[in-house]
């Protein structure tokens, strides 16, 4: 039996657990907080632009569970908002318990409030990991899905301080870079001005604090666009943002609200006094981050060098997924990289060659493309997402983007990869 230890229970870690389990492993997820999904508890955007293609690819490859849950708890489907088409908005207030139940049902062992702080090595292999309660957890293969966001010191050094986001570092203790503990130096993303990291791209307003008309429109259509007063338009803020797919002029000139259970405000932060000048938002207040009027979390400060099978270079039995594995943005990207890492964790244990997804599908292409780009100075300033920015342009140019599930299934079929993640290897 392959014992796979997944460090971090965000979308990437959950996806890793799903495919590792399907491949036959004994899977334990060590999660620092008391919730799975990490930033997925305040995210919610799926299937916009190229993410539609990617979501269908994930399903055809045989890791449909998590995508199906996001579809099932969708508050809105087929929503268009500036620069984005056919988005699904899942209800962030419903999704976590469903994922938790699904994982448990599949037999994944989840340990909450288990912050991994160190590793024990034997040569180039990790034998076990130490949690802050001073217990060691042994494993055959480890998958790091700790993300790249925070903790407080980084948010302060590279941002505007802790904004009290859903990651709740002060309560549960900060993220630790496991690959760095294993002796592999982290890569750091950059912003346009060469400074490090990037700021999370959205805040969440409490819907109860918004005007009736805004709430009604959000409930009905899923999206509300309100013009920003001329004096308050701030184009500079776009450069700080993680989400280059939302770093568009329209997002500086308008307040874009999406209904994910919260009113998701598509900007990194927005001073409360200014926000309340906008009709309908006179009483607005933030639910995530609590200090969304001032700051947001800083990300991309901890990526591990890896190959296209998601194995971390320099450590024999460590894989990575999600933001830890590159400058990826979004849940779909986390589920995509996590699904591959989970499947490959069992292959790695068995000494089989790792699965690399072909570049004729968007999953394979983004994983390989992000890896090529991260080695270039300019590549460190980019983000890679199916939903926009330069990668969505590339998807369109390469003919990878389609919203036809039959065509997507055909592509996967042609590569003989239908349900590859369902193959039980041990």
């Amino acid at each position: 039996m392959a014992k796979v230890i997944v460090i971090g229970g965000g979308w990437a870690g959950c996806a890793t657990a799903v495919t590792a389990k399907k491949a036959g492993a004994d899977v334990t997820v060590l999660e620092r907080t008391d919730l799975l999904l990490g930033l997925g508890n305040v995210g919610g955007i799926m299937r916009n632009n190229g993410r539609y293609t990617a979501a269908e690819e994930i399903k055809s490859l045989g890791a449909e569970e998590l995508i199906e849950i996001t579809d099932r708890v969708a508050r809105h489907k087929n929503v268009d908002f500036p620069g984005h088409k056919h988005a699904t908005l899942y209800d962030v207030q419903l999704i976590e318990p469903m994922v938790r139940r699904k994982l448990r049902e599949m037999g994944v062992n989840i340990k909450f409030e288990s912050r991994v702080i160190d590793v024990k090595m034997a040569g180039p292999k990790i034998i076990s990991v130490l949690t802050s309660d001073e217990n060691w957890t042994e494993g055959d293969v480890f998958v790091e899905a700790t993300g790249s966001t925070g903790p407080m010191g980084n948010c302060l050094r590279y941002g505007k301080g802790c904004s009290m986001c859903i990651l709740r570092c002060p309560t549960f203790g900060p993220r630790i870079s496991i690959s760095q503990r294993a002796g592999v130096e982290d890569l750091l993303g950059q912003r346009g001005d060469d400074s490090y990291g990037a700021m999370s791209g959205s805040c969440k307003l409490s819907k109860g604090s918004l005007g009736t008309e805004v709430v009604e429109k959000l409930d009905k259509e899923g999206v509300v666009v309100l013009p920003v007063p001329q004096d308050d338009i701030n184009m500079e803020k776009l450069g700080m943002k993680v989400c280059q797919q939302y770093a568009l002029k329209e997002f500086a000139e308008n307040i874009v609200l999406l209904d994910t259970g919260y009113a998701k405000l598509m900007t990194s932060y927005y001073p409360l006094e200014k926000l309340r000048k906008i009709p309908g938002l006179e009483n607005a207040r933030y639910d995530d981050p609590y200090s969304g009027g001032r700051a947001n979390s800083i990300r991309y400060l901890s990526m591990a060098p890896r190959n296209n099978g998601m194995k971390v270079e320099g450590v024999q039995n460590l894989l990575c997924a999600g933001e830890k594995s590159g400058l990826f943005v979004g849940h779909t990207e986390a589920i995509a990289t996590g699904s591959l890492a989970g499947h490959n964790s069992v292959r790695l244990h068995l000494g089989m060659p790792l699965l690399e997804l072909p570049r004729s599908i968007s999953l394979g292409d983004i994983i390989a493309y992000a890896n090529e780009m991260i080695k270039l100075p300019a590549g460190l300033k980019n983000r890679y997402t199916f939903s926009g920015g330069n990668y969505f342009t590339r998807m369109q140019e390469q003919g990878l983007y389609t919203t036809d599930p039959a065509q997507i299934r055909q592509r996967i079929e042609r590569m003989n990869l239908i349900d590859i993640f369902k193959v039980k290897l041990v």
């Binding site: 702080i117 160190d118 010191g153 302060l156 301080g161 900060p174 630790i176 870079s177």
Partner: protein
């Protein structure tokens, strides 16, 4: 690589300290000259954030205050118990196992300051009791103080393995205490008894000539036995005493042993515990040569098995790292 080294001051009102300004913080990687978080020993507070909010400066340091010497009671020829009047805040901050202060006569130079463990605290009246055993220059000078004394504090790292003492509940503990080590063992016993533990005490008069704390331990409800803990010639724990401790572990279910005395006593007990099958927590008095208490002077440093140095005046670590 895998040890937990906590700074006793982390997150306190004295954190960040001078070590943050010089890039030598014991806890925070950002304050060790690095530019990323590697927060292994999280203490509930981001020290880097505290530092930046404090305008990139250390917090105000502990200051010397002149305190009234209320009482001086000789319990033997070379041991006396002094009662010092302090603020209620200071008393409250010193009311925990391992607390100590620096004392010196008001006319003496700063290098006469000597670390003295707290034996008892009166939070309501604002007073502390300290046992002084006259050994050398500093304690001699201290013994001559009459009405006033200079005090710097509070300090907390007077014992190692604090979390084991704080964590033991409704269980059983054994304190092996020798000589002047009796004084700081009293707050340890108090803490353990309050948490519902059964406490056995082995007292060895050592060089104190008298077991001046025996009554206090009995009052707390401890079971007190008097035994030799260290053979003066060989500096080893006598076999009979080791056998007694072993029996307490196996028969009385002792889950924590505290060693209060010299390094030799710690070593003898540490070796015994590591040879036991039962998992028994180990705590001990901090016997390092503490001079400044602030991690600056380096006199308290000790080496771990991997050769790395630890400043024991501030670092909480498991005694197993040092005495096995």
């Amino acid at each position: 690589m895998y040890r937990i080294l906590d700074c006793i001051d982390a997150g306190s009102e004295y954190c960040p300290c001078y070590l943050a300004e010089t890039g030598e913080c014991l806890t925070c990687s950002q304050l060790q000259g690095k530019t990323f978080c590697d927060c292994k020993n999280w203490k509930g507070v981001c020290i880097y954030q505290e530092y930046v909010w404090n305008r990139l400066r250390m917090k105000e340091r502990r200051k010397n205050t002149i305190c009234e010497l209320v009482e001086k009671k000789h319990v033997s020829e070379n041991v006396m118990i002094i009662k010092i009047k302090v603020t209620r805040t200071m008393a409250r901050e010193l009311n925990q196992p391992g607390a100590y202060v620096f004392l010196r006569g008001t006319d003496e130079a700063e290098y006469f300051e000597t670390p003295m463990a707290i034996m008892a605290v009166d939070e309501r009246e604002g007073a502390i009791d300290i046992a002084v055993q006259v050994r050398g220059v500093k304690t001699k000078s201290l013994s001559q103080a009459d009405s006033e004394i200079s005090l710097r504090g509070p300090y907390w790292n007077g014992l190692l393995g604090l979390k084991f003492i704080k964590g033991l509940r409704d269980s059983s503990a054994l304190l092996a205490i020798r000589g002047i080590g009796q004084a700081p063992a009293l707050p340890v016993a108090r803490k353990l008894v309050t948490a519902g533990n059964r406490v056995e005490v082995i007292l060895d008069v050592g060089r104190s000539e008298v077991n001046f704390t025996k009554e206090n331990f009995l009052e707390l409800g401890c079971v007190v036995t008097e035994k030799s803990l260290l053979d003066p010639a060989s500096l080893l724990v006598p076999e009979a005493t080791l056998a007694y401790i072993k029996k307490s572990i196996t028969e009385n279910g002792v889950k924590l042993v505290y060693s209060g005395g010299s390094d030799k006593l710690h070593l003898g007990i540490g070796r015994l515990l590591s040879s036991q099958q039962e998992r028994v927590y180990f705590a001990c008095s901090n016997d390092a040569r503490i001079c400044c208490g602030e991690g600056i002077c380096g006199s308290c440093h000790t080496r771990l098995s991997d050769g790395s140095r630890v400043k024991t005046c501030k670092t909480q670590l498991s005694p197993v790292e040092l005495f096995t």
